[in-house]
């Protein structure tokens, strides 16, 4: 009644070819990554570097906070168990596929095994034990990562996430909780080693505060103030006023320019941080009304911003004489400005940040001839080229 069926050209081969081809393409990409002109002798070490990079790419970045380090450890543990389960189960599948192919001589039915209670209890109980263990460990980690203990000397910051920018308000440590300094550039400066207590506020839609190197994100929910604490690991922060900078960006879809809603976290040594914060507070109280920059003389360049983009990507200005930029911000409620950087990246001019719809006329000091970049401090993706000649 049953006739043996032709089992097709090399049965397991289809799966095997698929797996090998996928692996080959990945390997090919690795080889292509080696810079052209590399001596042949250096290829092995280059490839092994690449392989180390690939291995590292299966893990989150090195954590720069104490909380993130705990998360990284937990990730590594889950990864080891996952890799073990993956190899075991894929191995069983491949074994069954290779071992139990139907041969032309197989005319009789194979043994009709309907089940095995002992085995089934075993492979229910063991995974239950594994996930129970993982749950307990992850709960313990959670209690550290998500801990909230008011500690003396902690720095309180409120991050305001609005479409499509981040600002950071430094809150006084007394009970009044007044804003001592409002950082309008999308850069949060924090001290290493000290606890930073961050409150997240949104006036419009949901955003998410996400710093990959913290291994952490938390949603910024309108109508609800979310808070969390973190401690930047002092070992990650070099001495000096520059400190260490970590990139962050909004991780919850918030509209068209969601992708451009980026910020940085700059961690400083505590004494550098205190000096920085004091300098900002002093500068803020000393600053006269920045809009009153006097009647502009000489050339006036026109520039406007709409939907998180400048209307021009190139500007031209005369060399060695002051000029002015008349900047119109046409994004209602969104802050912009114009800053100018020279070829080395040094800020040559930074215009006042202000919300739209409004306009300012910036008086720019004389610049030597050359090519400059102009950009919005709030939205570093808004850039253009300023040619001074």
């Amino acid at each position: 009644m049953t006739t043996p069926r032709r089992s097709g050209p090399s049965p397991a081969l289809v799966l095997l070819i698929s797996a090998v081809a996928t692996a080959a393409v990945f390997l090919g990409i690795l080889v292509l990554q080696v810079p052209a002109g590399t001596p042949a002798a250096d290829y092995p070490s280059q490839i092994s570097d690449q392989l180390a990079n690939v291995w590292a790419s299966f893990f989150p970045p090195v954590a720069t906070t104490e909380q993130g380090r705990r998360t990284h450890d937990l990730y590594t543990l889950v990864f080891i168990i996952a890799a073990f389960v993956f190899i075991l189960v894929e191995g069983l599948i491949v074994f069954a596929v290779v071992r139990y192919r139907r041969k032309p001589t197989d005319t009789e039915l194979p043994p009709q095994i309907h089940g095995n209670n002992a085995l089934e209890i075993l492979w229910t109980a063991i995974p239950t034990a594994i996930v129970a263990l993982l749950f307990v460990l992850s709960w313990q980690t959670l209690n550290v990562v998500d801990a909230r203990e008011a500690s003396p000397g902690e720095v309180r910051i409120q991050a305001t996430a609005a479409r499509f920018q981040w600002t950071f308000q430094y809150i006084s440590s007394d009970d009044n909780q007044t804003v001592v300094y409002d950082q309008l550039t999308p850069e949060m400066v924090v001290p290493a080693g000290r606890t930073v207590h961050l409150a997240l506020y949104s006036p419009d839609v949901i955003h998410a505060f996400y710093v990959p190197q913290f291994l952490f994100k938390r949603d910024v929910v309108p109508g609800k103030l979310n808070v969390f604490d973190f401690n930047v690991d002092p070992a990650m922060v070099p001495p000096g006023p520059e400190g260490a900078t970590f990139k962050g960006q909004c991780a919850e879809l918030c509209g068209a320019q969601h992708w451009a809603m980026q910020f940085t976290v700059r961690a400083l040594e505590p004494k550098e941080f205190d000096a920085w914060l004091q300098a900002q507070i002093d500068a803020q109280s000393a600053k006269p009304s920045p809009a009153a920059s006097g009647a502009p003389t000489g050339v006036v360049l026109e520039l406007s911003a709409k939907e998180i983009a400048y209307d021009k990507t190139t500007l031209e200005a005369p060399a060695d004489e002051p000029f002015a930029i008349k900047f119109s911000n046409n994004d209602a409620g969104v802050t912009h400005n114009v800053a100018i950087r020279d070829a080395s990246g040094t800020e040559a001019f930074t215009g006042e940040i202000f919300p739209g719809v409004d306009s300012r006329t910036y008086a720019v000091p004389a610049l030597p001839a050359g090519s400059y970049t102009f950009l919005c401090t709030v939205h570093p993706n808004m850039t253009g080229t300023l040619t001074v000649k």
């Binding site: 049953t2 069926r5 289809v14 095994i113 995974p127 996930v131 980690t141 969601h258």
Partner: protein, 543 residues
């Protein structure tokens, strides 16, 4: 008796055109096939939208579209794939197979069955018509979180069309679920006890219960959002005393069980195919049923794991339940492998796709377990890692199972076999393309690339992997061409299938291919979950 009645009724059909016949049919088989065709149309639409997304992300910078268009593309890609492809496709298989598998002449409510089908193309047209209105289609992601999806930030009517379409599609699901439950409980042939039902029928039963309990909750949420948008309801607006996160609770109370709605019937297909092509019964039939029921029950207690980062969720409970749901899923995986153990595997296309399911769904299960650990979820939530995860579950899992089902039942549906070689070529292309597209997304997510971003900086270090993913996406698209060609030539010149080309187990193979209206003129004895196997080999062989 039955045969006489059929002959008597037959001439009436011939007086109408074939088109009229299909448009007005209440035959579950024709409706099932229409479900499948309709779902494939939206699969191709959703696929084209995905190619747009991949093309834009291949390189830093905005090359092909502005951000708003990009947001529309990924929103509509997900909406089409989930609401108009995976869910209805599996419902279509259920529609076709369930009455046949339990020895019934049709669904319990044939006209409601037709109604629930016809709501789908209507819903599909409605949702896609968003592209034609001012402001464009829905663009707040398929999750449509307010306030972003509210009138203040998305005033265009695309979102309203989306809400109406999903309500319509949901209603279609609810009607279908009632129909499946009634059919399975009331229409089984004599001898077809609950514990003799094929696993496919069991998975459709559990799926229908999930749909019935979860979808009305989503519908209420859709109504609230519609009222918020159009009449100032304030359900989700904090300024009016509403709660933003309430939407997420409602949405995920449906949409997490919906993941099981999208995977349980796929598991059912795999559980039909593996025993047939191993020539063995499914290992641990009852354990498999209990595991299915356990997934269904636990599926209602894990929804908030989509919301760990909102800061407004009781974390340990949802973490524990999410870990636990891995257990019944693992049981199934072991049952499938044990089914192949000591079997006699023949590598025809249904088995090949099933093996694709096993190997890829395994990854989708494992990389999902990472998120059950809340701190790890804090790191990975809303990054490309999650995009990798959902595609390993829904493409590596559901889509491979859909093709296993197509290659398995196409002979029954049409009376002709699909071409095996073309089927294998398609598999290799899909398998390679799928892994190239979605595997690098793990690494992108780990290195911090958020999902739903239209652009990224060239200094972010994401360029190479994105290019790989885009190449993979286009390989998937190319891989679907052999399938279309295959269906085209096989419908005309495919090898005649006969009643039972696979030497299968379940009742649909005891009738002709394609089956006549009302399915059977006689049924074999039903003494186990494999009545056709028993009839072929004698009941004593296997039991």
């Amino acid at each position: 008796m039955a045969t006489t009645a059929l002959d008597h009724a037959a001439p009436r059909y011939r007086t109408r055109s074939a088109l009229y016949d299909w448009l007005t049919t209440t035959d579950h088989k024709k409706i099932g096939i229409m479900y499948v065709i309709n779902s494939f149309i939206f699969f191709f639409i959703g696929g084209l939208l995905a190619l747009g997304v991949r093309a834009e992300l291949a390189q830093p910078g905005l090359q092909f579209m502005d951000e708003s268009t990009y947001n529309q593309l990924f929103t509509m890609h997900a909406s089409a794939m989930l609401f108009l492809f995976v869910i209805p496709m599996l419902a279509g298989f259920g529609n076709y197979a369930v009455p046949l598998m339990i020895g019934a002449p049709d669904m319990a409510f044939p006209r409601i069955n037709a109604l629930s089908f016809w709501m789908l193309p209507l819903g599909g047209i409605l949702i896609c018509s968003g592209f034609l209105v001012g402001g464009g289609a829905a663009q707040s992601g398929w999750t449509e979180y307010p306030p972003l999806s509210g009138a203040a930030f998305n005033p265009g009517s695309g979102t309203d069309l989306w809400l109406m379409a999903v309500t319509l599609i949901g209603t279609s699901s609810i009607l279908g679920a009632v129909n499946f439950i009634a059919t399975i409980f009331k229409m089984r042939a004599p001898g077809m006890t609950l514990f003799r039902m094929p696993i496919m029928v069991w998975t459709m039963l559990v799926t229908s219960v999930l749909v019935l309990l979860a979808t009305p909750v989503l519908t209420s949420g859709l109504m609230m959002l519609f009222i918020d948008r159009n009449y100032g309801g304030g359900f989700f607006d904090p300024a009016s005393g509403g709660v933003v996160v309430l939407w997420q609770n409602i949405f995920w109370f449906y949409s997490h069980p919906a993941v099981y709605i999208m995977i349980l019937p796929a598991m059912g297909i795999i559980s039909e195919v593996l025993p047939v092509f191993s020539r063995k019964p499914l290992f641990g039939y009852k354990a498999f049923i209990f595991a299915t029921a356990a997934i269904g029950a636990l599926g209602f207690s894990v929804w908030a794991h989509h919301m760990f980062t909102t800061g407004q969720v009781f974390l340990p409970f949802f973490s524990l339940m999410t870990f636990l749901i891995a257990v019944p899923t693992g049981v199934k995986m072991f049952n499938w492998i044990a089914t192949m153990y000591k079997g006699q595997l023949t590598f025809q296309t249904p088995l090949i796709y099933s093996l694709g399911f096993l190997t890829m769904f395994l990854i989708g299960g494992i990389n999902g377990a990472f998120h059950a650990a809340v701190p790890v979820d804090f790191a990975l939530h809303d990054t490309y890692y999650v995009v990798a995860h959902i595609h390993y579950v829904l493409f590596g899992g559901s889509v491979f199972a859909v093709f296993a089902g197509i290659f398995y039942w196409f002979p029954k549906m049409t009376g002709r076999m699909l071409n095996e070689t073309l089927g294998k070529v398609q598999f290799v292309l899909l398998f390679i393309g799928f892994n190239l597209t979605f595997f690098p997304m793990h690494q992108l997510g780990l290195s911090g690339m958020p999902r739903r971003i239209a652009d990224y900086s060239s200094s972010a270090g994401w360029t190479d992997l994105n290019l790989v993913a885009t190449i993979g996406g286009f390989i998937i698209a190319i891989g679907l061409l052999p399938f279309l060609f295959n269906v085209f030539i096989s419908l005309r010149n495919g090898k005649p299938a006969g009643d039972d080309p696979w030497e299968a187990n379940t009742l649909e193979w005891a009738t002709t291919s394609p089956p006549p209206p009302y399915n059977f003129d006689h049924l074999p004895e039903i003494r186990s979950e494999r009545p056709v196997f028993d009839a072929r080999h004698g009941a004593a062989t296997g039991h």
